[in-house]
């Protein structure tokens, strides 16, 4: 009765060795769910921690050993592209996720345990919550959720058609909505953040989906290759293409936190458990930019004369608004949130170049930014008022005398954000600016340079507070970081300095990888 189905039907192919890293991460997540189901409460957390870390490490090793030598192929019947940028971004995501997981593990800085509430379902302040706190229970679902999110990110940067693209976006985002709401301290703030993130996130997903539908309507194909081909043949439904491009861009601008789609960033970054904030700020941004680069460079690669003006406007807005609003912040997490908005603007400068050097410079910048971001948020967890983090900036006064090491390392990360030479941030800025000048976006670079100085003001202000001010009388206590946090911060600091002093190898890596396949 349905002859058209049988004709020329071939069963889909899967290149397992190319997909292996993603399959390992998803597999680890599923095993994690089983662990939740069948492991007794006592050893459950230990098992989850081990599973999470081992999964990421194994996935990273497999990525380098198995996938990387074979890159340059489309996999899973063309729905996934395992090319240089995909592998580079996947590796970056895995490393950043591993560093964030180290922060998830930490239970030394809060006297009650890790950064997560014992049970997200209990009412804040209720008797049942107190009972669980006393029993030192922890919400171990955090681990499989985070693994699912990592898997989604890895798929997001590799997806080569609109459907995979959207599914990956959701797999990445849904666990994050939950993770944001699981803070141990200030739970109402955390839940509010989760709700905001969820509502705005679904709204932006809807935009992205709607935009995808328009792109499909224009080209008659969901694959990026097909959209690219239809652009060159010029089918003549330009309004569809324009609307589709714009709406997809809105969805992605939301995810990277670009102005004017940034309003969720400060609230969510502030409310989320700080390790989750670090994870989101670093890994999610890498994934979102990876996907943005792919859809705009691959599917809409020959259409850049039409999307670049939009990027110009958004880039300038993001840099200007992010930098200026960051100056007015008094909470360090909100300040770092606005700083990440401004940083997104600098990264967009590289994206706007629409060239291979734009791609490689963006890749480098994301690595540099990821390290510094995780490091900075890790340090935020250490300065505490009684039980919760002392995030008000005035509480950080005089830290340089009380804890020279925390202050010095935080200064390093802030100087990197500000783009001072011999830190990774400077090389990143240099690369994206170079790409932008080469790509004919010199005015963007001038705006970027001027507002780098504005941005430097609020980074420097924190350094001023830490070193040049006297500590308050009731100075916050400083938690001694456990081994995990220490390791994470040390790696981030080493990465920030190494990428600033000898950036050659990573630039090489990024330049070699900077070729999308269609």
């Amino acid at each position: 009765m349905m002859p058209h189905l049988a004709d020329g039907f071939t069963s889909p192919t899967f290149e397992y060795q190319l997909l292996a890293p993603m399959l390992i991460v998803f597999g680890g997540a599923i095993v994690g769910v089983l662990v939740e189901a069948f492991t007794p409460r006592g050893p459950r957390r230990t098992v989850q921690v081990a599973l999470g870390l081992v999964t990421l490490v194994v996935a990273f090793v497999v990525l380098l050993a198995v996938t990387r030598p074979k890159l340059g192929d489309l996999a899973a019947s063309g729905t996934v592209a395992i090319d240089g940028p995909a592998v580079f971004f996947q590796g970056t995501i895995l490393v950043l996720a591993l560093l964030s997981f180290l922060l998830f593990v930490e239970r030394g800085v809060d006297s009650a345990g890790d950064a997560f509430t014992p049970s997200g379902a209990t009412i804040p302040g209720s008797a049942s919550e107190r009972e669980l706190v006393a029993a030192r229970v922890s919400q171990t679902e955090v681990w499989p959720l985070a693994l699912f999110s990592v898997g989604g990110m890895m798929l997001f940067v590799a997806s080569n058609d609109l459907l995979t693209f959207f599914v990956a976006l959701e797999v990445m985002s849904l666990p994050l909505y939950l993770l944001v709401g699981l803070a141990r301290r200030r739970r109402l703030l955390s839940q509010e953040a989760a709700l905001k993130y969820f509502l705005l996130g679904s709204f932006s997903s809807a935009f992205l989906l709607f935009g995808s539908a328009f792109l499909f309507g224009y080209s008659g194909s969901i694959s990026f290759t097909g959209i690219y081909d239809s652009l060159s043949s010029g089918v003549g439904l330009d309004p569809l293409l324009l609307i589709g491009t714009g709406m997809v861009a809105i969805g992605l601008f939301f995810k990277v936190g670009a102005v004017p789609f940034h309003s969720w960033v400060p609230d969510v970054y502030q409310g989320a458990p700080t390790p989750v904030t670090a994870f989101m700020a670093a890994a999610t941004k890498v994934a979102a930019f990876g996907a943005m680069l792919r859809i705009f460079y691959v599917a809409l690669g020959d259409y850049d004369w039409n999307w670049r003006p939009m990027f110009w406007v958004v880039t300038i807005l993001t840099i200007v608004v992010g930098s200026i609003l960051a100056i007015t912040q008094t909470d360090i997490k909100r300040m770092l949130a606005y700083s990440s908005v401004a940083q997104a603007g600098f990264i967009l400068t590289g994206v706007t170049a629409a060239s291979d050097s734009g791609l490689s410079s963006t890749m480098f910048y994301l690595v540099a930014y990821g390290f510094a971001t995780i490091g900075a948020f890790a340090l935020v967890t250490l300065v505490r008022d009684g039980t919760s983090e002392a995030t008000h900036l005035s509480r950080w006064a005089g830290l340089g005398r009380r804890s020279p090491i925390i202050a010095a390392v935080l200064s390093l990360f802030l100087l990197s954000f500000a783009g001072i030479p011999l830190t990774s941030g400077f090389i990143g800025k240099f690369l994206v600016f170079e790409a932008a000048v080469n790509g004919g976006a010199t005015p963007l670079v001038i705006v970027g340079a001027i507002f780098s100085a504005v941005a430097a003001f609020f980074y420097v202000r924190v350094i001023v507070l830490m070193y040049f001010s006297d500590p308050p009388d009731d100075a916050p206590s400083l938690a001694l970081p456990g081994a995990a946090t220490t390791l994470a911060v040390a790696v981030c600091a080493a990465g920030t300095v190494a990428l600033g002093v000898v950036p050659g190898p990573v630039i090489d890596l990024a330049q070699e990888a900077a070729a999308f396949i269609r």
């Binding site: 783009g419 800025k429 340079a449 040049f468 950036p503």
Partner: protein, 522 residues
Amino acid sequence: MNDFPVLSILGLLPFAAAVVVGFLPHGRELLAKQIALVVSLVMLALTVAMAISFEPNAAEPFQFVEKTPWIEQFGISYALGVDGIALVLIAMAVSLGPVVILAGWNDADDNERHRPQTYFALLLALLGTIVFVFAATDLFLFYVAFEVMLIPVYFLIGMFGRGQRTYAAVKFLLYSLFGGLLLLAALIGLYVVSARELGTGTFDWTLLAGMPIDPDTQKILFAGFFFAFAVKAPMVPVHTWLPDAAASATPATSTLLVGVLDKVATFAMLRMVIPIFPDASEWAAPFVVTLAVISIVYGALVAIGQTDMYRLIAYTSVSHFGFIILGIFAFTEIGGSGSVVYMVAHGLSTAALFLVAGFLVKRRGSSLIPSFGGVQRVAPLLAGFFLVAGLSSLAMPGLASFVGELTVLIGSYQRWPVAAVIAVIGIVLSSLYVLIMYQRVAQGPETENVKGMRDAVPREVVVFAPILALTLAVGIFPKPVFDVVNPAIERTYSFLQVAPVEPEVPVGDVTTDGAATDGEDS
């Protein structure tokens, strides 16, 4: 000897020492100071050795060259080397090293917030970056050193300064960063242009100098470079960070900041702006010279009105930097060489003024001029130092500044007679501000304020003596400096289109601004 990486050692040694000194435990303050002093003396010895084996008339532009690829993808290398100008300035900076360390011996002792170890580590790190910034022949490396230099100064002002130290430190950093980031944008533009002109992009000075760049691009890039250096120099109207910084920093910091660090800007104008953007430099020269003259007169006038000694000295520097820039943009060899000599002289005289003022302020606990009076009666030696330092600043014949100022004026009169004539007003004013300050501080009857003030202690004499000796040496016998500097200046101006104005030309022939145009025709 030629393979010996003397410049790297000169630059990295203080960094290594800074790390050691910074991590010394409590109770080892004296050791920290001793290490800092010894390291600065070793640097001085190395510099002397370097100066002796330097050949002023060598064919190649740079000597003691080192070159290692750094970021090969962008043609960036770790390239060091010195010409005569850089050598003279490094020598000046390194000679001031032990002097400021001795002068700042007790600066951080009574600071309850921060340790002396940190103070000396930062001073050493600053000396290291200064060496790199003068020795870099790769523009990217120069930029890195140029920006990194800000960090130690920022902490030196903010941690160890006084009064509005935080405000001053942040203002200093933001002004410099603002200029620096525009410089970065221009530097990237230059790189992109070099990639178009030369095939592969580069930051190597030897390839960039004299590279053909179309005039319009040159003007834009020139603007970026010049703005950054004008902020740093500092020129009116972007000078306001300097008085604040100088008033808040310790005298040792101010000496390095005003005496040495700001010279980076004028050095870079000679090293980079003119050889790489010759057309734009000629195009902008009238504008630059106007600003320079405004700086000279404005700086001097404002200096007269100051009641704070440090601020006064800072404004005299604004005026003196005007002279230096006037000399550079005179595009005559005598003016150029004169400006280099003036850079050295200004470094020495500023050091003398800041440090002696620092001795006075330390005793009195205030830097306001009215809180002194009659110092001469209680501390004749100290007052004498102050007078000599002041005379050096107002360019007394026989002292280094006189040589610099005179040659700058001769050189610039040949090209910009009107500007030179106005600039002379600056000299007249300079005797006003110096002598008024000296009179109010040191002369007259002994006042209540200065009762029981101690005269100079041996350490202070040791600080002042070498500065005085160098000032006298350069003032009386400047030939060795000119010999070293002249070939480099000649090379610098060889990139310009304007024919050099011959020093022999009778003054009467060059009475109008047409001189420059005449030069172009020939």
